[in-house]
């Protein structure tokens, strides 16, 4: 059997020259600037915060002194930190669930065509475009006990409520006025309400985009098979909207977990410690008292909590994607 001439030619040829290093690692080189920026802006500060959390260090006085886990022990003995931790979880859960729930309701509503939809849509997302300080200023005046519009409205409802009570032989009520921002049992929920007002539009937009990406043919086919409204929602809308729902939940829970500005502008963390949050605690320790060691320890706790929550969501979303 004769070999093909090309075989001999190949046998005679020299091995292919090794490509230069920069060609072999071209992908890495392209990524390098971004990696360096991430390392400089994210990883270094994070490592530094973790390191500082083991030191007693006031920026204004003295050099850092290693104290081991003392900052953490102190944190979990400090009633203001513990109240802040509890309030942050309450705030985050309540605001996220309400914003995504309301956002879903509005998205379903606006997914249909109706008269005035084009006019209402920009109005609906308007609160999101306002500065938080402006939002807080508006709500602070609305919450005012004596002059606020909310208490004014409630007061004007009192005669109607008393009339109904009179029908049942009950004694009339005093004019209804709510201590929105200074009742320790209510203040946190008043701040939650402001967040819901401002950020529900964000969840709404994410979910509306999700709804609009579901092919109409699926609904038509299901209807041909005899599926009704609730079944369509349960079997088609919800499963296909799942990733968008998780995205809205993830973004809103991370954002609400960092709540600071509304507390700062509306209540200053009070009354008592009713609206104290972790971010507010970190701000006070870090930027008012410059206790960088303690602020770092609180930041690490917050970082771990946010990472834990994010990991849960991401696992859900990625797990689902890879299964598909």
């Amino acid at each position: 059997m004769r070999c093909h001439p090309l075989f001999f030619k190949l046998m005679r040829s020299k091995p292919a020259p090794k490509r230069p290093w920069h060609e072999r690692h071209f992908n890495l080189l392209l990524l390098l600037p971004a990696l360096l920026i991430i390392a400089f802006l994210t990883i270094y500060p994070l490592v530094n915060v973790v390191r500082l959390s083991f030191y007693e260090y006031n920026y204004l006085r003295g050099t850092p002194k290693f104290v081991g886990v003392e900052n953490y022990v102190r944190l979990f003995r400090d009633r203001f930190f513990l109240d802040g931790l509890r309030n942050t979880f309450y705030f985050s859960i309540a605001a996220t669930v309400a914003e995504v729930g309301l956002g879903l309701f509005l998205a379903i509503l606006f997914h249909r065509r109706f008269r005035g939809r084009r006019l209402l849509l920009p109005l609906l997302i308007f609160p999101m475009m306002l500065s938080t300080m402006v939002v807080c200023s508006i709500w602070r005046s609305m919450y005012h006990f004596d002059y606020g519009i909310l208490n004014h409205l409630l007061e004007s409802l009192t005669p109607a409520v008393n009339w109904v009570l009179g029908l049942f032989g009950r004694s009339p009520l005093e004019p209804i006025r709510i201590r929105w921002l200074f009742d320790p049992d209510l203040a946190l929920w008043s701040v939650v309400l402001v967040d819901i007002w401002q950020w529900t539009p964000m969840a709404f937009l994410i979910l509306l985009a999700g709804l609009q990406s579901i092919p109409r043919e699926l609904y038509e086919a299901a209807k041909v098979d005899g599926a009704s409204g609730p079944a369509l929602f349960r079997r088609i809308t919800l499963p296909l909207l799942r990733n968008h729902l998780f995205l809205a939940l993830l973004l809103r829970s991370i954002d609400t977990f960092k709540i600071f500005d509304k507390v700062y502008a509306l209540t200053g963390g009070g009354p008592g410690s009713a609206t104290e949050t972790i971010s507010f605690y970190i701000y006070r320790e870090g930027f008012k008292y410059f206790n960088m060691g303690r602020a770092s320890a609180a930041s690490v706790v917050m970082f771990l909590a946010v990472t834990g929550v994010s990991a849960l969501y991401i696992r859900q979303v990625l797990g689902r994607t890879s299964a598909q």
Binding site: H144, T267, S273, A274
Partner: protein, 410 residues
């Protein structure tokens, strides 16, 4: 060739002009304080056109953060710094401000002693690091018409009289609350409480030890909490704007804390419903004589400034008797000089100035310790817990004392 020569000449001219011009940066406050600084810069520039001045108008917390970072790092981004007297000890003890006497300034006896003393370290007669710019002192306001209507002795001389008057007016005037104060946690509640606390003879720090939970301190807090019964609903979150609105709107009979910066509004018919009805006096006393809180805003020169002489020249200008008088007459700026307080034209315009000067003369500064910001924060936290009823006065002050002691020992 000729074109090139002309161009070179223009470039040289522009460069030499830029080099000849001194540029100062002032880190100052926003709001009314900012307006006063702006006007002073305008006046200064009219006399010194070769000095360019940039003014940064910053809110209270933002100013503190920016100053600490700039001064601690020795960056020198700001030549002139405006500082609250409670920050002064911290800044001066760290060597962040230039010694004004070493720069050639001679202290002026026309300044109110208490105002000048807070710019010195060690307090009250050490090195002079800053000059008093805004003569802020806590004042007390009451409705003369209501006191006369109910035959109450006025002006009230003790905090017990204040409590009695607040209770009586609150009971018989359906539309008027007896008293108002700032109840918001942190600096506001501490500021509202301190004149009462000091009036009872209590001290926050005594001989380097935390002393808030003394029997006098607890008695003062009990009186403060008793006043809350006659305050408007929501006083727990009241800050300056709410106190101001309540007093200007005629909704309260007594304000235990008003400030010179906004007192002129009380006699402004466009803003006030109580024109000529409110009397302004130094805070009452009790065990001690009147002990109003001093809250001077100082102007200092950054130790890292590259234009220290020019910066001092501006500070000297804005705190001079002539300019203070002009700023006071034009903008209601609270002065820090005797000569301005006793000026007939100024007194004719601001009828409470003699009382304001008396308050400055008897004023008490907050403890001159470098850790005051943190002490104030802690005290404010626990005072609020007592105000909302989550802790008894004893528990609140004992907890505050333990935390303050820990801060002092750190």
């Amino acid at each position: 060739m000729r074109k090139w020569l002309v161009l070179m000449a223009i470039l040289l001219g522009v460069t030499s002009m830029a080099l000849a011009q001194t540029r100062l940066v002032i880190a100052g406050r926003d709001g009314g304080y900012g307006v006063v600084l702006e006007r002073a810069i305008e006046l200064y520039r009219a006399q010194n056109p070769d000095v360019e001045i940039e003014l940064l108008k910053l809110p209270y917390a933002g100013l503190y953060e920016k100053l600490v970072i700039d001064l601690a790092e020795g960056i020198g981004a700001y030549d002139i710094v405006m500082l609250d007297d409670t920050w002064a000890t911290e800044f001066m003890s760290q060597g962040w401000l230039a010694d004004l006497e070493a720069l050639g300034y001679t202290p002026d006896p026309d300044f109110v002693d208490n105002a000048l003393a807070v710019g010195r370290y060690p307090y009250p007669d050490g090195t002079l690091y800053a000059l008093p710019h805004v003569g802020n002192v806590e004042l007390f306001a009451y409705r003369r018409d209501l006191f006369e209507k109910y035959g109450l002795p006025h002006p009230p001389k003790s905090w017990l009289e204040v409590l009695g008057a607040a209770a009586l007016i609150d009971r018989y005037e359906p539309e008027v609350s007896g008293v108002v104060f700032r109840g918001r946690k942190g600096n506001p509640i501490v500021t509202g409480f301190l004149p009462i606390f000091w009036g009872f003879g209590a001290r926050i720090v005594e001989d380097g030890q935390a002393a808030v939970a003394s029997p006098e301190g607890i008695a003062a807090l009990k009186l403060f909490l008793a006043l809350k019964d006659y305050a408007p609903e929501g006083v727990e979150v009241y800050n300056s704007s709410e106190v101001k609105d309540a007093l200007l709107g005629g909704d309260v009979a007594i304000a235990i804390e008003v400030w010179p910066g906004w007192v002129p509004a009380l006699d402004d018919p466009e803003r006030s419903q109580v024109v000529g009805l409110v009397e302004i006096i130094p805070a009452p006393g009790l065990v001690e004589t009147s002990s109003p809180m001093i809250g001077i805003w100082l102007l200092g020169v950054s130790a890292a400034s590259r234009n220290q002489a020019a910066a001092l020249d501006f500070v000297r200008f804005i705190t001079s008797p002539e300019i203070q008088r002009q700023l006071t007459l034009e903008l209601g700026h609270p002065p820090t000089r005797h000569s301005v307080y006793s000026d007939p034209e100024v007194v004719a315009k601001y009828r409470w100035f003699p009382a304001q000067l008396a308050a400055m003369d008897s004023a008490v500064p907050r403890p001159r310790v470098p850790v005051w910001s943190e002490i104030e924060g802690v005290l404010g936290d626990y005072l609020q817990l007592a105000l909302v009823g989550e802790m008894s006065p004893e528990e609140a002050l004992q907890a505050a004392q333990a935390r303050i002691q820990e801060i002092l020992e750190r």
